[in-house]
Point group: C2
Chain length 591, copies 2
C-alpha cells in the first residue's frame, strides 16, 4: 500500500467505527526513547523517520505535528503522502489538542491506541476534551492495515553480576521498597525498560543503542514479579533471579496481572513513564500515588563500583577517540573521507576496545553546514566529503560492559576563520564554566544551565538544546531524572550523578560547534554556609587547542584547559603506542 492508500484505509476504519479523529503516537508501551521496529507506526503510515512527532487524522485533514529540528526533513518526507506538516511552537507539547478542540464538535470521538501514550498525556487530553464533551476511545487501527508488521523483538537478555553492578538485585529491590514505604504505596508497577534493567541488573538488545529488554515489573513488600519472555534468559540467570526473590511471568500476561490486583491498593506509578492502556487495567478502587519511579532516583546516584567501572570505560573510549582523530589527521590529505566513513572508522576503533558492546546512539558526524544541525543523522544524500576548510563535529558514544560514554569534539579542518575560532572558544568557555562550577547542595540543573550559557549570552549567542543530560551505567545514554536545561526540572544535583555538559553554537548553513564532556557530581566539602558540590570530569579525550582565541579565555579557564589536556595525556599514555603517545602529547601541549 502507498501512504495515500494507508491513509484512505485508516479513514475508512474511522468512518466505520465513528471515530472523528485518530491519533498515531511515536511510542511503545514502555514509553521508550528508541522504538522497536514493531512500534514504528509513523514511518509505516507516512514515511516520516524523525524521532518525535504525532499524526492526527480526520476525514478532512491529516497532519504531522513535529518540532523545528524536523521541519525540513518532514516537508520532504511527507510530500505526496496526504499528510501535512504542522509546526510545533513549543517542542514536545501536545499542541494538536488545541487544534482538536477547535475543529471537533461536542460529542465527537477521538481514537488512539491507549498502550502507546503516557498516562499523563492521555489524562490531560481526556480532561481537556471532556470539557467540550469530546470522548476518547481506545482503538488500534494500525494493526488492521499492517499485515506484514514485524513481531516484538526476542533478542537474548542477560544479567550483569553484582561485581559489575555494585549492588545485588535484592539490595536494589529493598531500596525501592523503602521508597515505596515512604510514599505509603503497597504496589509499584514499572514499565520503563531502563528502570527495570537497573533494578534487576538486567541487560538486553531489544532496541537500538539502549541495552534493555522488553519487560514489566510489579513490586510489593512481599513479592517481585518480572514480566519477560523467559526464552530470552539463560537457565543460570533465571535461577539467579529466583534466588533474589523474583518470580518470572510471561510478558503478555501483564495486563491480566494488573486487572487481578486486589481492590483498594495504594499503587505507585510514574505517569510519564507508564502507558495509559495498562494504567486503565488497574482496579478502579486503586489509590494512585504518582511520582518519578524510585528506581529512577536510585539509579541516577551511581555507586562507587559503577563509578570505577565508568572511569575504566572512559579510558577505553579515550584511546579509541585518540586513534580516530590521529587517523583523521594522518589520512585526510591522502584519501577520501566522508562524514559516513569517518563515523564508521570511529565505530571500528571503539569496537577494538575491550568490553565494547555497541554504540550508545547514532553517531552525529557533521561537516560544516551539517554540523549546524544539532541532531544531524547522515544519509546517503546528505553525506559530505571532509575536505577544504571547515569544522567537523563528531558527537558519539559507546556502550561498554563497564559504562556508557557520550562525547562531542570539533575538529578544525584546513584553515578556520577568526569567527570560527571565537565561537569555538566561547563554547569551550561554557563547558569550562560548568565543569569547574562549585555549587551548594540543593542546586538544580536549571541553575547550572544559565552559568554555562553566560559566556555565549555575552555575545548575543544562544543554543536551542539543554546544556546536559543524565546518562546511565551501561544503560540509556539519556537518563533522568536530573538534567541541565532551562526547564524548571525540580531535581537537585547529588553526589554520584553523571551528566553531560555540552554547550554549542550553530550557524545554520555554515557550521556547528559543540564540545561535550561527561562529569560526575562530587562533594566539595562544607563551610558555615552548608555543603558544597562540584564536578569531576570523566571524559578522557583532548580538547583541540589549535583554533582557540586565547584572549577570550580567563586565566582560570586557561588553567582548567591545560590541566584537563595534561590529565588526558597522562591517563591515556600507558594504553597508547609510542607513536600515538607522541602525537597526543603535542595535542595536549598547554596553550
Amino acid at each position: 500500500m502507498t501512504f495515500v492508500e494507508k491513509l484512505e484505509a485508516l479513514r475508512q476504519l474511522m468512518l466505520a467505527q465513528q471515530v472523528d479523529a485518530y491519533i498515531i503516537t511515536a511510542a511503545d508501551p514502555h514509553i521508550s526513547e528508541y522504538l522497536p521496529a514493531h512500534y514504528k507506526a509513523i514511518p509505516f503510515a507516512c514515511g516520516f523517520t524523525g524521532s518525535a512527532g504525532t499524526l492526527v487524522i480526520t476525514q478532512d485533514f491529516a497532519g504531522l505535528w513535529t518540532d523545528s529540528r524536523y521541519f525540513t526533513q518532514a516537508e520532504a518526507q511527507l510530500s505526496g503522502t496526504g499528510y501535512e506538516l504542522v509546526k510545533l511552537k513549543v517542542p514536545h507539547t501536545p499542541e494538536y489538542i488545541n487544534w482538536l478542540l477547535e475543529i471537533l464538535p461536542g460529542g465527537a470521538k477521538v481514537g488512539f491506541n491507549h498502550e502507546l501514550i503516557t498516562v499523563a498525556l492521555a489524562l490531560e487530553m481526556k480532561n481537556r476534551l471532556a470539557q467540550y464533551e469530546i470522548e476518547i476511545i481506545d482503538i488500534d487501527f494500525i494493526s488492521a492495515i499492517w499485515p506484514d508488521r514485524v513481531g516484538l523483538p526476542v533478542e537474548n537478555a542477560f544479567l550483569i553480576n553484582e561485581e559489575a553492578a555494585g549492588l545485588s538485585i535484592s539490595a536494589k529491590i529493598n531500596e525501592v521498597r523503602t521508597a515505596l514505604k515512604l510514599n505509603k504505596a503497597n504496589y509499584h508497577f514499572i514499565s520503563s525498560l531502563d528502570d527495570i534493567a537497573w533494578l534487576f541488573n538486567l541487560r538486553g538488545k531489544d532496541v537500538d543503542y539502549n541495552p534493555v529488554t522488553l519487560s514489566f515489573a510489579l513490586i510489593t513488600p512481599a513479592m517481585v514479579k518480572l514480566f519477560i519472555d523467559k526464552k530470552k534468559l539463560s537457565q543460570t540467570d533465571i535461577s539467579t533471579l529466583n534466588e533474589q526473590g523474583v518470580t518470572l511471568h510471561p510478558y503478555g500476561e501483564v495486563a491480566q496481572a494488573l486487572k487481578s490486583l486486589p481492590k483498594n491498593m495504594q499503587i505507585f506509578i510514574d505517569p510519564k513513564r507508564t502507558c495509559f492502556g495498562l494504567f486503565e487495567c488497574l482496579p478502579k478502587s486503586s489509590k494512585i500515588i504518582a511520582g518519578i519511579n524510585p528506581s529512577a532516583h536510585l539509579k541516577s546516584l551511581k555507586n562507587n563500583t559503577e563509578i570505577n567501572h565508568i572511569r575504566k570505560a572512559m579510558l577505553h573510549d579515550g584511546v579509541a577517540l585518540t586513534r580516530f582523530f590521529k587517523w583523521m589527521e594522518d589520512h585526510l590529505s591522502r584519501e577520501k573521507i566522508t562524514e559516513w566513513s569517518a563515523a564508521e572508522k570511529l565505530a571500528s576503533f571503539r569496537a577494538e576496545q575491550a568490553s565494547f558492546v555497541g554504540l550508545s546512539f547514532n553517531t552525529i558526524a557533521g561537516y560544516n553546514a551539517n554540523g549546524a544541525l544539532p541532531h544531524y543523522s547522515v544519509t546517503a544524500e546528505s553525506n559530505q566529503e571532509i575536505l577544504g576548510n571547515g569544522l567537523f563535529l563528531v558527537d558519539s558514544g559507546g556502550q561498554y560492559l563497564y559504562g556508557t560514554t557520550d562525547i562531542t569534539r570539533v575538529m578544525p579542518i584546513g584553515n578556520c576563520s577568526a569567527s570560527q575560532a571565537d565561537d569555538y572558544t566561547l563554547v569551550l568557555k561554557g563547558l569550562i564554566e560548568g565543569a569547574k562550577l562549585i555549587f551548594p547542595e540543593g542546586t538544580k540543573g536549571y541553575q547550572i544551565d544559565s552559568i554555562c550559557r553566560k559566556p555565549l549570552w555575552e555575545h548575543s549567542i544562544n543554543f536551542g538544546h539543554g546544556t546536559g543530560h543524565g546518562i546511565g551505567f551501561f544503560l540509556n545514554v539519556h537518563e533522568g531524572p536530573q538534567n541541565i536545561s532551562p526547564a524548571n526540572v525540580d531535581v537537585v544535583f547529588k553526589p554520584g550523578m553523571i551528566t553531560s555538559i555540552e554547550p554549542g553554537i550553530y550557524r545554520p548553513g555554515k557550521y556547528g560547534i559543540r564540545i561535550e564532556n561527561l562529569v560526575l557530581c562530587v562533594p566539595k566539602g562544607n563551610s558555615e554556609f552548608g555543603d558544597f558540590l562540584t564536578f569531576e570530569t570523566l571524559t578522557l579525550c583532548f580538547i583541540d587547542t589549535a583554533i582557540i582565541n586565547k584572549t577570550l579565555l580567563a586565566t582560570d579557564q586557561i588553567a582548567w584547559l591545560n590541566q584537563y589536556n595534561q590529565m588526558v595525556f597522562e591517563k591515556l599514555k600507558p594504553m597508547l603506542s609510542d607513536e600515538e603517545s607522541e602525537w597526543l602529547k603535542v595535542k595536549c601541549q598547554p596553550v
Copy 2:
C-alpha cells in the same frame, strides 16, 4: 487579658463549638504583605510580632509555625504565653497541615476565618484533610475575645493623574479586559490592593509602607465596580472614576455582590491573592478560571512615563542617600550614632526631598552582628551604637509620588579586616554579574539568580534569600510576578520590568553584607539567535570602594564599578551643594 487567658478563652470557644483545631493566620481579606492593625490577630493572641507565622491551637497544644528568620525572636516573645515555637523546615509552607493530619482523628473539625486565608491554601487544606474525613469550618473566634479591636483604616485615598501614571484608568481596564477575553472569562474579581491601586490609578494610606487603600474590584466586559469607602475619596476623584466608567459601591457590600452574580459565569480569580471566604460567595455554578491577575502582569511592565518618573525619584533618593552617608562620615567621631538614630536621620534626609510620601519599608539598619540578620528590625533592646570597627548595613527605601525606591549599601566603619573586604568584594561581584548580564528573551529569574550567586559559590558561600524582587511604581516595594530567586517561578523577564539585585553574605554573630540596586530590564538588540535583553541600573548612589579587594574583581567588573560610580556622580552633581559634590567626587574615584 493575658496571652494565657486569651488562649484559654479560645479553647473554651472551641469546646463550645466542637472545633478540634483552630488556626489563626497572618492575613487580611486582601492577602496583603502589610496588615492593617485590625488584622494583627497573631500579635494580639500571643505577642509574636514577626511578619510570617501561623498559630494552630488544640486543647492539648498551641503552636506558632514560623521560619528560621524568626526562631530567636519567637522563642523570646512566646515565653510564658502557652504557645510553643514550631520550626518550619521550608519557609512559607503550611507544614502544620501535616501535623494536623497526624494528631487529629477522622471526623475532626478544623476552624479558621475563611476571609483570612488564600483560596489556594484553603483548598489545599480542605482537600488534604478531606482524605482523612476531617472537615474545615468557617469560624471567627478572634473577634469574640477582642472587645477593643481597632476598626478598619479609613485614611484618605486619592487618584494619581494620567500624566503621572502614563495610562488612563479606562485604558488600563481595557488592557485587563483583553486579557480576560483571552482567558475566556466574563467576570474578574480582584482583591489584591496593589492590583487595584494600579488599575484605578488609586493610592492611599491604609497600611504601612504600601500606598494602597482597602478596596475590591469586579470587572466584566460591560461594567467595573469598585468597592471602597466613598468617604475616602474627594468629589473630584469620584467624578473622574465615574467618567472612566467605574461605579462605586460600599466596601462592605462585596460579599453580597459576589453572591448575587449570575449563574454559570466564567470568573477569573488569582487563587493566591484572593481570600477563601469571598471565593465561597461565588455562585456554585461558576466556572473558575485561575491564574495570576492580568493586572499583575500588566503593572510589572512599567510604561515610559512611569520609567521616566522613577528615574526622577532615583535622583531624589540618591541625593538623600549621599547626604546621609556624608553626614554619617562627618558625625561618627563627634556624636553618638546608633542604628536607630541613623535610620531616623536617613528618613529625615529623604523627607526633605520633593514628592516624598513615606518610607517604602521599615529601614534595616544593622551594625556588625545585627547586619547579619537579613530581615533585622531595630528595637530598643537590640539598638547598637555605631562605633569602633565594623560594617554598617543600611537597607532602605522611599515612596515618592514618582516612584518607589529600595537600596542597600554597606558602610565600612573604622578598620575592616581582609576577610570583610573579600566578602564585600564578592557580594559586589554578584551584583555586577547580574547588572551587566545579557540574556535571551524568554529568560526567567531563576536563570539569572545562579549567575549572581556564582562568585560567592566559588568560595563556598551562599545566602538564604532571593537575589531580587520586583517593585512597584509608587506602589508596593515587593511586587510580582517576576523575581530573581532559585525557586522555579515561571515568569519571563520582559523590557519594562524593574527588579532589585541584592546578593549578600551573612556571618552570624559577626556582620552582614548586602549591596542592592534596582535595575530595569531593557532590550539589547537582536542577533541571528534572537532578541536579547539586559539591565539598566536605576539606583543612583555611590558604591563605597574603600574596602574593595581589587584582585578579586575581573577587568570588566572593575570597569562596570568605575562607570557606575562616575554616572552616579555626574547625575547627582547638579542637585548637590559644592561641598557635597566634592565629597561625592572622592567617593566616586575610579579604583
